[in-house]
């Protein structure tokens, strides 16, 4: 087997590691030193990028069948056995890997190039630590771990790289570790991620426990088998202290556990608090790690383990995504720090992706991941340019009118804003080329799926396809030509193992053939009617309505706050002349921006679209154009019915016309509103806030980030402290009672003794006094005796423990029935 792709990908992973190793040990001194260290790092990642381009081009030069074959025979090396579990080192080679890999290397290359300029202003020496080379060394390590994460075929290695990525994030957030806020932010990110990783480990442990393998494909196959036989993890119900969670199996918990990891890394709702603080790192770090690649790793993870998610787990994911995208977008409206705005918008977009994963829009979510990576990296680099140009001024209230000073930055930023706002015109197209930018397609596709799930579930077409399952053999013959497609998909996201395990396979295949025959679809224009055939509706729980309307609402909010950010920064009149006068565009730093802008445009125009669709396995290349949103997810409910999620035709029918009507012009409305309000600076907004009753309150709440940090601080930190205090107090009370009893009786005794002594002849003292004293002594000794065992001395505790154990042992052994104990023991004593 020719493993040229695997070798290229693995080489691309190793090269940044080598650059890291060189830089971290020798980077500070000649021959590397200040500029050359960066060149080395850039050369390394550029090498990876070239390799990945080679793989990308050649991969898509192959036919689907060839790709399938390559995926199945991808490189695996048997590394070790842990008991019964064998660990393979291998490369997961499929379309998703190839595209994701290319995306990471491409964006990382641009950001490396940008960083050369960005970091050149940084002094070499801060506190005796040379920082310049350290930055690029960490970048190398990050690239290594991120790429390793992407190509890992085994969950174990995925987890290892996952943690390495987290480590890099920590190191880079805390890059200015001499500043307290930066090191605090790094710590916060790290700890928050640990919370998520705890869930990840639980999920991982469940996977290994019940499937006995770390390998993604093998685990999915085993999982499908367990599902069909209703054994293993599906036979385990969740119970907590005897309380059973009805209707949920352990499989759901496993899915949620795995998703917890993604929650940490992709900063989803309860754990989202670290990402805005992570902006303490240098801006290229924010661009690379906290916008484009690392935070997307969570979504990538969900995509990878999609086959292990039950409908309940998916619903959980969708809810979390929905909450995240809503609250963070709202918070973004009121932020004044340019990087914070972008951070919250990132959170919101990540929420969209996770939401998409949750509702089953597998392809759309990944498509959104790709487009978002490009424009968000570009936006961050633009903000970095602004910050650097304005001498580390981050407050957009002090900016304005910068587009004259830094024209390229302004232009590319605008492209980014348009892309994230979902700029595009529904229904307008020239031939197959539609008019719109990245977010327009990707976000709307997620919404389209949500729409299907919210309104159109119910299964017309379900019966038909299920019946077709009856004529199994016939259908299989018929479906044979497209089987390859299905297979490619199976290896990436969904289980053919699962589908082909029973007659439902034919249903799936029917769906695929239907899709395969569908040509030229697009998000908002297509022939009607086809979609009906594609709808292999199932009985997935339909989505609550609010989970459709909230993202729609946020689709209006997003353009608003992005426009606000753009206008206050680049347009209008300068509000702080000091900042404005000194602002300048650093030469050549805009080149990566332009490259990324071009990338945004290109990927908006569907370059990645077919590729991801292919990763989903439901695209065809016969016509050269692909437009079907084929979520590659099939699931089956407990009754064994097909629960293939909606595989709708992306707005080819009426509902999607409606959707286009609902959100198609959200960018225009949102941005227009923002323009109206912020046209002349923030003053009008302030007035509106003051004049509308209640708005100030909301504003304040949003400014305080909806009090998440406060709540965490109060509940977790304070709670722990309070618990400690409570324990201390309880201890004090006990001690007090014991002491008080002792002293009370002693006092009584002494007092009594004295009273009796008074005026009594000496000979009485012996008797009376002694009695009294004896009483007092007894009580005193009782008190101190009670006190003594808890004297905090380790030796006493040792003594008590050992003594108790010994006495227990004697009791067991010398009791009349000790022979029974001996029998039991001798039974266990056999080898």
């Amino acid at each position: 087997m020719n493993h040229q792709f695997e070798i290229c990908l693995a080489l691309g992973v190793v090269v940044p590691l080598i650059s890291f190793a060189i830089l971290v040990f020798f980077g500070a001194n000649p021959p590397f030193g200040k500029p050359r260290a960066a060149y080395l790092a850039f050369a390394a990642i550029a090498t990876s990028c070239v390799l990945s381009s080679y793989v990308l081009i050649n991969w898509y030069g192959l036919s689907v069948a060839e790709r399938t074959e390559l995926t199945e025979n991808a490189f695996r090396y048997h590394w070790a056995d842990f008991g019964n579990i064998s660990i393979d080192v291998g490369v997961k080679l499929d379309s998703l890997t190839v595209i994701m890999y290319f995306m990471v290397t491409f964006i990382a290359s641009c950001i490396h190039a940008f960083s050369i300029g960005y970091m050149s202003g940084h002094s070499d020496e801060v506190g005796g630590k040379c920082k310049y080379h350290r930055f690029f060394a960490y970048f190398g390590l990050f690239s290594f771990s991120m790429l390793g994460l992407v190509i890992s075929s085994s969950l174990l290695f995925l987890f290892i790289f996952w943690e390495l990525v987290g480590l890099c994030s920590y190191l880079l957030i805390g890059f200015y570790f001499h500043e307290k806020y930066a090191s605090d932010a790094g710590m916060k990110a790290f700890i928050t991620n640990r919370v998520g990783d705890f869930g990840f480990i639980v999920g991982l442990a469940l996977v290994v426990l019940y499937t006995g393998t770390f390998d993604l494909d093998a685990a999915a196959a085993s999982f499908a088998e367990q599902y069909h036989t209703g054994t293993g993890i599906f036979a385990e119900s969740i119970s907590l202290f005897g309380w059973h969670v009805s209707g949920m199996t352990l499989a759901t918990l496993m899915g949620i556990g795995l998703f917890c990891g993604a929650m940490g890394k992709s900063a989803q709702f309860p754990l989202h608090v670290w990402l805005p603080d992570a902006m303490a790192g240098p801006t290229p770090v924010s661009a690379l790690i906290h916008a484009a690649t690392m935070v997307a790793a969570g979504v990538y993870l969900v995509a990878r383990v999609f086959r292990l998610l039950t409908p309940d787990a998916q619903m959980f994911i969708a809810v979390i995504g929905c909450i995240t995208l809503t609250i963070t977008a709202l918070i973004a409206i009121v932020q004044t720090d340019i990087k914070k705005i972008l951070a919250y918008s990132t959170l919101s977009q990540l929420g969209y992706m996770v939401f998409g994963m949750g509702v089953g829009a597998w392809t759309a979510a990944l498509f959104h991941l790709m487009t978002h990576a490009f424009f968000k990296a570009m936006l961050f680099l633009g903000s970095g340019q602004v910050i650097e140009g304005c001498h580390h001024e981050k407050n957009i209230m002090k900016m304005g009118g910068l587009s004259r000073k830094m024209p390229w930055t302004g232009r590319t930023f605008l492209v980014g804003v348009l892309a994230i706002a979902g700029f595009g015109i529904p229904w307008l197209h020239i031939g197959d080329i539609k008019f719109g930018l990245g977010g327009f397609f990707s976000k709307d596709e997620i919404l389209a799926v949500a729409y299907e799930r919210a309104f159109n579930m119910g299964g017309d077409g379900h019966g038909e396809s299920h019946e077709s399952g009856g004529t199994h053999g016939e259908n299989e013959d018929h479906a044979a030509p497209v089987h390859g497609d299905g297979h490619a998909m199976a290896n990436v996201a969904e289980g053919v193992q699962l589908a082909s395990a029973d007659t439902n396979a034919s249903a799936l295949l029917a769906a695929q053939s239907a899709m395969a025959s569908s040509e030229s679809g697009d998000a908002h224009h297509a022939e009607h009617g086809r979609a009906d055939k594609m709808k292999i509706a199932g009985t997935l729980p339909s989505l609550p309505k609010w989970m459709f309307w909230l993202p729609i609402f946020i689709a209006y909010v997003t353009p608003f706050y992005m426009m606000r950010c753009y206008w206050l920064t680049f347009r209008g009149t300068p509000r702080d002349h000091h900042v404005h006068d000194h602002a300048h565009e650093i030469p050549w730093m805009w080149v990566p921006l332009v490259i990324l802008a071009v990338g945004t445009l290109v990927c908006s125009y569907m370059l990645f679209r077919p590729m991801i669709a292919d990763a989903g396995g439901v695209a065809t290349h016969a016509a050269g154009i692909v437009a079907i949103d084929g979520e590659a997810h099939s699931w089956e409910d407990t009754s064994g019915q097909v629960m293939l999620t909606v595989t709708h035709g992306s707005g080819m029918d009426n509902p999607h016309n409606a959707l286009a009507l609902i959100v198609g012009f959200s960018w225009l409305i949102g941005m227009g509103l923002a323009w109206l309000i912020y046209r002349n600076g923030p003053a009008l907004a302030g007035r509106i806030k003051d004049s509308v009753p209640g708005l100030a309150l909301v504003h304040h709440a949003l400014e305080q980030k909806l009090y998440f940090d406060h709540v965490y601080n109060y509940a977790l930190v304070g709670g722990t402290k309070a618990f400690g205090k409570l324990m201390g107090a309880a201890d004090g009370v006990l001690d007090f009672v014991v002491d008080a009893v002792a002293y009370l009786f002693r006092g009584i005794g002494v007092f009594a003794g004295r009273q009796l002594d008074m005026g009594v002849e000496k000979r009485d003292i012996g008797l009376v006094d002694n009695i009294a004293n004896f009483l007092a002594w007894i009580t005193y000794m009782t008190g101190t005796g009670l006190r003594r065992p808890q004297n905090g001395r380790i030796r006493t505790y040792v003594l008590l423990t050992a003594g108790a154990a010994g006495i227990a042992l004697l009791f067991v052994l010398f009791w009349p029935h000790s022979s029974d104990a001996a029998e039991v023991l001798s039974a266990t004593a056999q080898p």
Binding site: A80, D81, F82, G83, R795, L799, A802, G803, A805, G806, I807, L809, L810, L813, F814, S818, A821, A822, L825, S826, A829, Q830, P831
Partner: protein
């Protein structure tokens, strides 16, 4: 026969040293007693065909840990021969507990008819190779975990023992 005698000799050395550990008032002497116990037990390991374990006991325990302990004693002692003695009550209580424990465990051990291997097989000793193989196959996870633990301990100990700034 000689092996039996050797067992009693080594066991006696270990026990005698252990008693010396308990009875000595001077902590350095206790450490020397521990050295005796470790050496005696290592010899027992050799006797029980556990050569590698015996050597590890000597190199890690006697050669490393014990020296660390003596080092710790030297760094933390204020005047040379001050021993902190327990009160008589404590000593008596501890002795009683120890006697109880001893009686209990010895009784337990003698009560159980321990299954033993065929005496012919007893002389088959394990080579270092087989233990090494087992460590890298069956016990790979504990092995790796142990290495991680050692790393953590190394960092932790260095952090704890560093001089305060």
């Amino acid at each position: 026969m000689i092996e039996d005698a050797a067992f009693y000799i080594f066991a006696g050395v270990s026990l005698f040293s252990a008693i010396a550990v308990v009875l000595s008032k001077n902590i350095v002497r206790a450490a020397v007693g521990l050295l005796g116990t470790l050496g005696g037990v290592a010899c027992l390991y050799f006797l029980a065909d556990a050569n590698l374990l015996g050597v590890i006991q000597l190199i890690v325990y006697a050669g490393g840990t014990l020296i660390l302990i003596v080092f710790g004693i030297m760094l933390t002692s204020q005047s040379p021969w001050v021993g902190f003695l327990p009160t008589k009550v404590q000593a008596i209580a501890a002795s009683i507990v120890a006697v109880i424990l001893t009686i209990g465990i010895v009784r337990l051990v003698t009560l159980v008819p321990w299954a033993q291997r065929n005496p012919d097989e007893l002389s088959q000793s394990l080579t270092v190779k087989s233990i090494g193989d087992a460590l890298l196959t069956t016990y790979l996870v504990p092995f790796e975990v142990a290495s991680v633990l050692l790393l953590v301990v190394m960092i932790g100990a260095a952090y704890l023992a560093r001089t305060e700034k």
